[in-house]
């Protein structure tokens, strides 16, 4: 128990002293995970909506696969991205291994199925409501997808936040493809793993509380910006 208190105190010390290293790795965590979230959302939101409204031959198989991919093990994703980006791999000439870009690629792969799957669940119900209206207005597929995404934006926000949560707390994949290089690819989660390895639980726990606070702050900020849960709206 003492160690947990020491960890909380250490977190406050780190935050109030605005430790330069802490600010740097926190900003990098945000940069990597938010970029991954934006890219994944651009892919997953239209895709999840599309499979909710379209009927095609392998639809059930696609949905089942998508749901299964929600549990994609990050370590395996990391290893595959690592092998692809390694100098001796197919994309080695790009020189992307051990850069924040490599970490973003791995996180996009991990969170896209999660966001697409939650999007699909939410859009399926909304589509049942909008089906007759949108068909009778003779809308194109593109118009239907845009309408559903706009009117279902609250549910999609949940999907995106779930994706962000998985990205910001992820360590297995980014450790492998980022390499945890100081001042280059070190983020909060890999720094926590490193400090735990050194047996410095106090600092590791301090960084952990900073990470939790960061996740809370991002969620509050997004809710405030999109004005959810206010009187008269939901």
């Amino acid at each position: 128990m003492n160690e947990i208190w020491a960890g909380i105190l250490s977190a406050f010390r780190l935050i109030f002293a605005l430790d330069a290293d802490l600010v740097e790795i926190t900003l990098r965590s945000l940069q990597v995970s938010l970029t991954a979230l934006i890219i994944a959302s651009l892919i997953a939101l239209p895709f999840g909506t599309w499979i909710a409204i379209r009927r095609f031959r392998y639809r059930r198989a696609t949905i089942a696969t998508l749901n299964a991919l929600m549990g994609l093990p990050p370590v395996v994703v990391g290893l595959i991205v690592y092998l692809l980006l390694s100098r001796s791999g197919p994309f080695g000439v790009l020189g992307l291994l051990f850069t924040p870009t490599a970490m973003i690629i791995a996180q996009v792969i991990i969170i896209t199925p999660l966001i697409a799957s939650i999007t699909h669940q939410a859009m399926r119900d909304l589509w049942a409501e909008y089906h007759d209206l949108l068909i009778s207005l003779n809308t194109t597929n593109r118009q239907r997808i845009i309408t559903l995404i706009w009117d279902g934006r609250r549910a999609l926000l949940t999907a995106a936040l779930a994706g962000f949560g998985r990205a910001i707390g992820e360590v297995g994949a980014i450790m492998i493809v980022g390499g945890n290089i100081d001042h280059a690819t070190r983020v909060l989660t890999t720094a926590i793993a490193l400090e735990t390895g050194k047996g410095d639980f106090e600092l590791a726990l301090g960084l952990g509380f900073v990470l939790i606070a960061l996740a809370l702050a991002v969620n509050f900020a997004i809710h405030a910006l999109t004005k959810t849960e206010r009187e008269g709206r939901w």
Binding site: S86, R87, G92, F98, I181, A184, L194, G197, G199
Partner: protein, 264 residues
């Protein structure tokens, strides 16, 4: 087109100093010596050395694939094979430290009074006292296996008291601390380790526990993107008088950790 270039520019890292990637072992990094050497290297040569902290096995793999420019590891046989197979240009010895046997203060196997490392390990095996092994193909793990062989044992045949955790030095020490088990560690990692619990340094000083670190530049003929110039500049610095002074002067709790032994 201009917009595209501006967009790409956002992702490019500013190239203030020349960068190179060096794979080092966890034991070297945990010692804290890198935090003394890297700023001095930057100051003298302008090199921005990015450290990838991995086990010796993975460091060698990174070098084989050409993902780093040089490696600094401690496993002589594997290093010589690395150079013989043409993955590295040559092997240069830089410094050494030593391995120590850590265990619970109560010392059920009584290794404190052992004469040699082989005898200490024999006592642990005979007492079947809990022993944590790195089990990650690192330099320390390879050393431990070799020590068991010297003592006349086959680590594969051990029972449940021999636990292979497959983790880095710090994580393995955490496990040993939790289990009050014996473990082989390099001295630097042990002194810097923060969660000692009831563990203590029980045995050290045998010449077979000697731990030589060597620097191996990755073969630029195999991988033309390798920054051979930076790797050479770093090698020259690591074998310089300044490096000798810094390495020999580095202490934790008043104990010297590394002994510089590069030949000019």
């Amino acid at each position: 087109m201009i917009r595209l270039l501006a967009f790409l520019g956002l992702f490019a890292t500013p190239l203030a100093a020349e960068q190179m990637k060096l794979a080092v072992t966890t034991s070297f990094h945990n010692s804290g010596l890198s935090e003394v050497l890297l700023p001095a290297i930057k100051e003298d040569t302008g090199l921005d050395v990015q450290l990838l902290v991995v086990g010796t096995g993975q460091a060698l793999r990174l070098g084989e694939a050409g993902d780093v420019d040089a490696i600094l590891v401690h496993s002589k046989a594997a290093e010589e094979a690395f150079v013989a197979d043409g993955f590295g240009t040559h092997r240069r010895e830089i410094m050494y430290n030593d391995f120590v046997l850590i265990g619970p203060e109560a010392d059920a196997a009584g290794i404190q009074t052992a004469e040699t490392a082989a005898q200490a390990l024999t006592q642990i095996a005979e007492a079947e006292a809990s022993f944590v092994s790195r089990g990650d193909d690192s330099g320390t793990h390879k050393k431990e296996i070799a020590l068991w062989v010297d003592a006349g044992f086959d680590a594969e045949s051990f029972g449940g008291w021999y636990k292979q955790v497959g983790a880095g030095m710090g994580a393995s020490l955490n496990t040993a601390s939790g289990l009050s088990a014996y473990i082989l560690s390099d001295r630097a990692s042990w002194l810097n380790f923060g969660n000692k619990g009831d563990l203590a340094l029980l045995f050290s000083g045998d010449a077979v526990l000697f731990n030589q670190y060597a620097y191996l530049p990755v073969n630029f003929r195999r991988h033309d993107h390798v920054n051979a110039k930076a790797a050479e500049a770093l090698e020259n610095w690591l074998t310089s008088d300044k490096a000798e002074t810094l390495i020999n002067a580095y202490t934790i709790d008043g104990q010297g950790l590394f002994v510089f032994n590069a030949t000019p």
